[in-house]
Symmetry: C2
Subunit: 144 residues, 2 copies
Amino acid sequence: MKNKNEILDRFKKDGFRLTSTREAILDLFYKKSKTPLSCQDIQKQLKQKNISANKTTVYRELEFMRNENIIEEFQLDDGVKRYEIISNHHHHAVCLKCRNIKCVELGKELESQEKQIEKQNKFKIISHSLEFYGLCQKCQGVKK
Amino acid sequence: MKNKNEILDRFKKDGFRLTSTREAILDLFYKKSKTPLSCQDIQKQLKQKNISANKTTVYRELEFMRNENIIEEFQLDDGVKRYEIISNHHHHAVCLKCRNIKCVELGKELESQEKQIEKQNKFKIISHSLEFYGLCQKCQGVKK
DNA sequence: TTGACAAATGCAACCCTGTTGCGTTAATAT
DNA sequence: ATATTAACGCAACAGGGTTGCATTTGTCAA
């Protein structure tokens, strides 16, 4: 995970342009609380900065950043695509009540289990996704 | 996981009806290769048996069976809902090329990791989903 | 500074999965 | 045989995401 200016320089070097939308979206990924963002999330947060961006534009920008290996895409149980900066590998804890998403890190225990699965199933693992669903601290306290 | 007739009896006892669509879908879950099924999968397989079922009907039947605790729903990276019989807890190995889905079992190692996450994040875990993405045996051999 | 080029954008129309309302069909009990 | 109501099909809709195309705009070279 490089810093923002490094990335903008690389874009320019590769013939891509520095537009306000591009920079604003990159800002969201870099500055904001490290929660993954959906297209809608991005549009809302841009609006708060008085930047309007068509959803097509946002999706294309996300596609672009994905190709540039800056962000990655994943899905939760709601079928909505979410994106986050590529950094340390981690997983997600999703609150079933407030839908808040927290990134959590695990040790390397999964690696040995992956090897076991590869051997047993003759399946070459390229990536995995692990999400925990439950109740965040706040929502545990609330009576339903 | 009970057998099919037990389930049909229970339906009847609870005032639900035994329709050909219901039985056919239940058959798919019981007899077919133990791969999860999407609504489309189900419609295609029914068609092969010369049974036509409207997608609304299929979705409602799936909802019904979910309420009856016979099947469970989950998502992969494509945002399509899939369903499978509730049985031993397991995970999925998804081939990125042919999209075949294989169920794989893991030991109980994840449990201790869950406890660790619960403690560290004060997050009460209710369920989790773990999918492996990669290449199945067949697709590893194929040159792209 | 201007002009040319192509990257980036917006819009409308579309695709796909999944859902809802409502009138009809048919499984079951009497 | 009839009444009841679960199950069904259809059409219309919802929401996330994509595509084609015309327009705008960032960049760079003259």
